[in-house]
């Protein structure tokens, strides 16, 4: 396997090395490489040296293919699959081993605090790494899904900045809906 090295410079002027095949997981880097504007080091003014190694770790694992294990595993997110299901059991079976391994890796990889989560999300967005973006965004969504507003506020330290009158008004609307939906 040819492994041309690419050098990435973080916002705080630290240089990191990455294989070209891994770097191609990023649409942005791929365009730079293919565009032939490769001039030794690629500066990434939006990504700090705290987060860049984490991004590189992801790219190394996913170099070439874009997409998290969720996607491969036909996970609940992709609802259009219902329309045209793919009944390829055998391939599923073979994939399963790979997917399970990847899931485990993702679990360990995603073990960090919220600051890192958002930084990673921003970096993935900036570098156009679809799989990493989906992974981080889904993580944030999972902290909202199925929770009450209070729980969500607590999860994210969101301060409700509504005036007491507005709060009152919202509660009224809520009650109205609740009544509508209540059991007969």
């Amino acid at each position: 396997m040819s492994s041309t090295k690419i050098f990435l410079k973080s916002s705080d002027d630290k240089t990191f090395e990455i294989d070209e095949t891994a770097a191609r997981a990023s649409e942005t880097l791929k365009n730079i490489i293919d565009g032939g504007c490769l001039d030794g080091v690629i500066p990434l003014p939006n990504v700090s040296s705290n987060i860049l190694p984490k991004v590189i770790e992801y790219c190394k694992k996913h170099g070439g293919d874009n997409g998290s294990s969720k996607k491969i595993a036909n996970g609940g997110v992709d609802k259009d699959k219902e329309i045209l299901p793919d009944y390829d059991e055998e391939e599923d079976k073979r994939e399963k081993v790979r997917v399970d391994e990847l899931k485990k890796w993702e679990e360990e990889y995603m073990d960090f605090d919220q600051q890192v989560l958002y930084d990673l999300m921003l970096a993935a967005n900036y570098l156009h790494i679809k799989g990493l973006l989906d992974l981080t965004v889904e993580k944030a969504a999972s902290m909202i899904r199925g929770r009450t507003p209070d729980q969500i506020r607590e999860n994210f330290n969101i301060n409700s900045d509504f005036t007491p009158e507005e709060e009152e008004e919202m509660i009224l609307i809520e009650d109205e809906w609740d009544d509508e939906w209540a059991f007969d």
């Binding site: 921003l122 967005n125 909202i144 199925g146 929770r147 507003p149 900045d161 809520e174 009650d175 809906w177």
Partner: protein, 516 residues
């Protein structure tokens, strides 16, 4: 409106919790596009709830680029199960009403720049009185630059119940400007061809259980010149729909279990699905020319007059026939078909195909060798009746690199319509068949066998493949005991089977056998 989903709330889970340092609200500082991205991963129920978090979140959800209205999810997020809760029909009716009201409101307040995806899953038949509203939502989607539109009217009921219903009729509006739509997926609809006249940017069209009242594939392509992917599954098509003399620009084409509308007046709207079923016939004529086609899949109840012209860019093809019987001359059709598919690098064939193939023509090999074929997948039962066809294919695919055998798909064919002499080709001894074959695989690197059972026929086949594949690298064997309960007791023991397989002579020193 947000508290309506309070009732069913998950307990705070440690796993999902990502702790933040200090008490800083980091998430609200994210750029709007990322926040919207997060919201796209949420069902409507949770989406609505975010509006009461803070002022910043208040109207955010009205801008999300993916609108996903799912009746089932919407109703079930309130009460775990409508039926078990003893909820009356009236109550259920009211919830449907609420759901419709919710969609109306959401569309009214939505002020995002673009709607990338609009999905509506609605049990149409139960609620004819919503037809006008659905029409309005569909028109909203079409006029608001939606890129991907998914309409599914099959929810709530099992398919057998749905049979009694009339599919939703797509509104046909003469749109002044071309619609931005690039992907359209319809499930349980019917439409007149004129609905498609404005869809000039359409690239992918997926129809499932759709009644096409008029038109043909040629007209469709003329209206949607950019169309690349077309998939028709269990659709009712007008007569000769699949016949078109001119080149199609399609890249992928799937035609699965489609039938030809046999009603006296096929253009009549509003026929119940079950009435359509009783008066139709399988697709019997199929003539296309598709020089750009990369992937082709045909599944049907019978082999029709398939004529595929200039398929020179074809990469993979799948033919699956579930006919039950075989008629004179059908073997010749298969030979012709394989010749037309000879550019394919990957081919998937069914048990029926393999059994019928050697009835006519040269039994040893095909007239035109499949020199482009690298990957062959056979859905078979590894029954003696399939051996001849398999050997014929294998000897014609000289450059084959991978062979996948999926077992448990044997087709029981009624041979009564054929002359008894024709069936003489099967006069060989199953047990000795592979021993007597002289084939050598010079390129075969990988063999995969799924739903492996230890039957003698299977073991013989593997033995034969191992003995004659000189560059073989991997053999992957997956067993599935549940399927083969008829396995003889002496083969039940998996480890014994493994020992036996490992003892077979291998022509390739690099060959490894892997059991999964």
């Amino acid at each position: 409106m947000s508290a309506m989903f309070h009732k069913k709330v998950l307990p705070p889970s440690k796993q999902l919790r990502v702790y933040s340092k200090g008490n800083v609200d980091l998430i609200s500082k994210l750029p709007e596009c990322l926040l919207l991205n997060i919201l796209c991963f949420l069902p409507v129920s949770d989406l609505v709830r975010t509006s009461v978090l803070s002022k910043g979140w208040r109207y955010l959800w009205n801008q999300i680029p993916n609108l996903d209205f799912d009746q089932y999810l919407f109703i079930n997020c309130l009460h775990v199960n409508v039926l078990s809760s003893g909820c009356s029909c009236q109550c259920h009716e009211r919830k449907i009403g609420k759901f419709a009201e919710f969609i109306d409101q959401m569309l009214l307040f939505h002020h995002g720049h673009t709607i990338l995806k609009f999905r509506l899953s609605f049990c149409f038949n139960e609620h004819f009185r919503y037809t006008e509203r659905i029409d309005r939502w569909v028109c909203y989607a079409l006029t608001n630059k939606v890129h991907e539109l998914i309409l599914d009217f099959s929810v709530c009921y099992t398919w057998s119940f749905l049979h009694n219903f009339v599919p939703y009729h797509m509104p046909h509006h003469p749109f002044a400007a071309p619609v931005r739509l690039t992907v359209l997926k319809l499930h349980f609809c019917e439409f007149n061809f004129s609905s498609f006249e404005a869809l000039s940017l359409l690239r992918s069209l997926f129809l499932r259980r759709v009644v096409v009242l008029d038109g043909s594939i040629g007209l469709l392509i003329a209206s949607c010149p950019l169309l690349q992917d077309l998939s028709l599954e269990s659709c009712h098509l007008p007569d000769k729909f699949m016949n078109h003399p001119l080149d199609l620009k399609l890249k992928t084409l799937t035609v699965e279990n489609c039938r030809i509308n046999g009603l006296v007046n096929p253009q009549v709207e509003g026929a119940r699905w079950i009435d359509l079923m009783s008066s139709n016939r399988p697709v019997d004529s199929f003539e296309i020319s598709a020089p750009n086609l990369l992937s082709f899949k045909f599944c049907g109840e019978s082999i029709c007059k398939l004529s595929l012209k200039s398929m020179s860019r074809l990469v993979d093809a799948e033919i699956s026939i579930d006919q039950g019987s075989v008629l004179p001359g059908q073997s010749k059709i298969l030979h012709k078909l394989l010749k037309q598919l000879d550019h394919a690098q990957a081919l998937t064939l069914c048990s029926w195909f393999i059994q019928v193939l050697p009835l006519e023509g040269n039994q040893q090999s095909l007239a035109t060798p499949l020199d482009n074929l690298k990957h062959l997948k056979l859905k078979v039962g590894l029954d003696g009746l399939e051996f001849l066809g398999m050997a014929c294919l294998l000897s014609s695919a000289r450059n084959l690199e991978s062979l996948v055998l999926t077992m448990g798909d044997f087709a029981c064919i009624i041979w009564d319509y054929l002359d008894i002499e024709v069936l003489n080709v099967f006069n060989y001894d199953d047990g000795l068949y592979w021993d007597s074959q002289m084939l050598c695989f010079n390129c075969l690197k990988k063999i995969e066998i799924y739903r492996f059972s230890g039957r003698k026929q299977v073991m013989d086949m593997i033995k034969f493949l191992l003995k004659n594949s000189v560059v073989l690298e991997n053999v992957i064997i997956c067993s599935d005991k549940k399927i083969y309960s008829d396995t003889k007791p002496e083969y039940d023991d998996t480890s014994r089977l493994q020992i036996e397989l490992n003892s077979f002579h291998r022509a390739s020193p690099r060959a490894k056998i892997l059991f999964l």
